[in-house]
């Protein structure tokens, strides 16, 4: 069953279309990354899916029911900056949300607080929370009623690397229970680690919808970069130069070298044949960021 469908979803503000004719479907249980530069229409699309903004044209459904509608009660959202009542504690904010929802047992508040590791700060006023704590509290609130769909807009904003990893693991754990997640982020490395499928939007239009691998392959660069280390750095650099590459020394024992993609498989073999004792070789393959940047700007040269 489709968890989310958008059909010709369009939102115009005056003459300007914030989102134009967006059509896509997301299956139940999928984790989909929603990419796009600032102002591309990500948040407006998420707001339309959450029933907060009425589409000018087109329609969307969540769990098979039209939006807005009662089915939104099975959706957990984090849209833009997390917001709370600052004079209430974290626990009280969650209790308020639970009461407003109406179908959340009181014990669930403690469960989600523990899930996002906020149980020790639960009785502090939210105004005293750091940005990272607010992000985690917002995630806890989005999970309160065990949603079947989650719409997350930049959920790792303001988090330190540990916090980002925690949120990533939390989302993985949630998704493993069959929850559909549509997550937007500017931190492409994070999206890359989390999602299987990418929806990319630019200037209000969906410009890519498919598996992450397909985006990387389709927009892939003609070269790849290896980081190679060897016992003898000078010998390594000389051998690479002999093979016709332009290596850049790295630390005391290695080098970065960019090779044509079709020669990548042969690099280690060639170095070994020249007597270099390679101790490690890491393929810094084409990443999502490179592919994404080329997607929204086809003329961009590989870095």
């Amino acid at each position: 069953m489709n968890a989310i469908t958008a059909t010709g979803l369009t939102k115009r503000y005056g003459a300007k279309a914030a989102v134009a004719d967006a059509t896509f479907t997301i299956e139940q249980g999928e984790i989909v990354g929603f990419l796009g530069p600032n102002g591309a229409g990500k948040t407006t699309t998420l707001r339309m899916l959450a029933g907060l903004v009425r589409p000018t044209e087109g329609s969307c459904t969540v769990l098979g029911q039209p939006v807005p509608g009662a089915t939104l009660r099975e959706v957990g959202t984090m849209i833009e900056e997390p917001s709370f009542y600052p004079y209430m504690t974290g626990r009280s904010n969650l209790r308020h949300a639970a009461l407003l929802h109406g179908d959340v047992p009181p014990s669930r508040v403690d469960e989600v607080l523990e899930f996002v590791s906020l149980q020790d700060a639960a009785d502090k006023k939210v105004r005293a929370y750091s940005q990272g704590m607010r992000q985690r509290l917002a995630l806890a609130r989005a999970l309160l009623w065990r949603p079947k769909v989650m719409l997350l807009d930049e959920p790792t904003n303001g988090l330190d690397p540990t916090g980002i990893a925690e949120v990533r693991e939390s989302l993985r754990s949630v998704a493993s229970e069959g929850v559909t997640v549509l997550v937007s982020s500017h931190i492409l490395a994070e999206i890359e680690k989390l999602v299987d499928r990418i929806l990319a939007i630019d200037a209000g239009r969906i410009v890519f919808d498919g598996p992450l691998r397909e985006l990387v392959e389709r927009m892939g660069a003609p070269t790849v970069t290896y980081t190679v280390t060897a016992r003898d750095q000078a010998g390594l650099l000389a051998a690479l130069a002999e093979l016709g590459y332009t290596p850049a020394p790295r630390n005391q024992d290695g080098a970065d070298v960019t090779v044509p993609a079709d020669e990548a498989d042969l690099l280690i073999e060639r170095l070994t044949s020249k007597g270099v004792r390679v101790t490690s070789a890491t393929l810094r393959g084409e990443d999502l960021e490179g592919a994404y940047l080329r997607l929204i700007d086809p003329h961009r040269r590989p870095s």
């Binding site: 707001r47 907060l52 807005p68 009461l99």
Partner: protein, 317 residues
């Protein structure tokens, strides 16, 4: 659980965590009757000697500082403040339930958790009206307590038309629905709690003040272009009747109703409305409670329709 009930529970939870409701309750339930009792005691001390000269001091004290008197003052006093304590309470609650959702950027959360917008608005209205009822009935009960205490040092007793007074409390409370709807509408419409509050406080008075200015212009002698057109259109009678439909005049009609009786006691006679002269309009005696209720129902209907229509359609940004 129904969406309205869920909203009522959540908003009550929020209200009880807001300091302003306790401040309002303290002012209304404790400070007002305590100060009134103190004034009563001072009057009793200072006016006692005039009793021999025929001043009905005991009647005056019974009217204002007995349990029934204090309950009357708690109903009538707030209606004569400027701005009235009723409208202050209403705008503070509107700021909490509508303005704060905007100010704290909470609509995007609230309306996903509970997407049935009419139910959310109804829940908020129920809690606001519930809070106002609690404040008013609390004042009624505290007046009984303070009035009973007052009998120990004032020549007062617990007599009075309690049922009639309680009816006026409930009548006044019902009238506040129109004010709440107006406050919700304006605070939601202008997307700013502060600006909304200012508008709620000033707008009705501004419109009514404008009427006074225009009235002066229309009645200028010799005949002016304004009143010539006016009279030609045969709108004079309608124009003169307009104050009977003013928002504030009708809003506070139940609260101001006991003022005539108190004025009669103070003037030592049974005064008819027409005999009150300039005091007549001030004391709110020119309109009946039935008329006021009908006018306020009309206002409530208009404000309510606009509020629900706007709230249901507006995008949350």
């Amino acid at each position: 659980m129904s969406a309205i009930l869920a909203t009522v529970r959540a908003e009550t939870f929020k209200l009880l965590r807001k300091r302003r409701i306790y401040v309002l309750a303290f002012l209304y339930w404790v400070l007002l009757p305590a100060v009134a009792l103190l004034v009563g005691r001072l009057l009793y001390t200072n006016l006692r000697e005039f009793e021999r000269e025929g001043l009905p001091v005991a009647d005056l004290l019974q009217s204002l500082f007995s349990a029934h008197g204090l309950a009357t003052v708690a109903l009538t006093g707030p209606a004569y403040m400027s701005p009235t304590a009723y409208i202050v309470g209403v705008v503070l609650l509107a700021a909490l339930f509508i303005g704060e959702e905007r100010g704290q950027n909470m609509w995007k959360t609230v309306l996903v958790i509970q997407p049935y917008r009419p139910a959310v608005m109804t829940g908020k209205l129920v809690v606001t009206m519930g809070a106002l009822l609690a404040l008013m009935l609390g004042a009624f009960l505290s007046a009984i307590v303070f009035g009973t205490i007052g009998t120990s040092f004032l020549p007062t007793d617990l007599s009075g038309d309690w049922l009639g007074l309680l009816g006026l409390y409930l009548w006044q409370w019902a009238h506040l629905l129109a004010a709440v709807l107006l406050a919700f509408l304006l605070v939601f419409l202008v997307r700013s709690a502060v600006l909304g509050i200012v508008m709620v406080l000033l707008l009705p008075g501004l419109i009514e003040g404008l009427y006074t200015v225009l009235n002066t212009l229309f009645n200028l002698q010799p005949l002016t272009r304004f009143n010539a057109i006016f009279q030609a259109l045969r709108l004079q009678r309608l124009w003169e009747a307009a104050p009977r439909y003013f928002f504030t005049t009708n809003l506070y009609a139940p609260g101001r109703a006991p003022a005539r009786d108190i004025a009669s006691d103070m003037l030592q006679s049974s005064v008819q409305p027409q005999d009150l002269g300039p005091l007549q309009s001030l004391l709110g005696t020119t309109i009946t409670l039935g008329h006021a209720a009908a006018v306020m129902a009309g206002y409530a209907l208009v404000f309510g329709v606009l509020l629900y229509w706007l709230f249901g359609r507006r995008d949350v940004d």
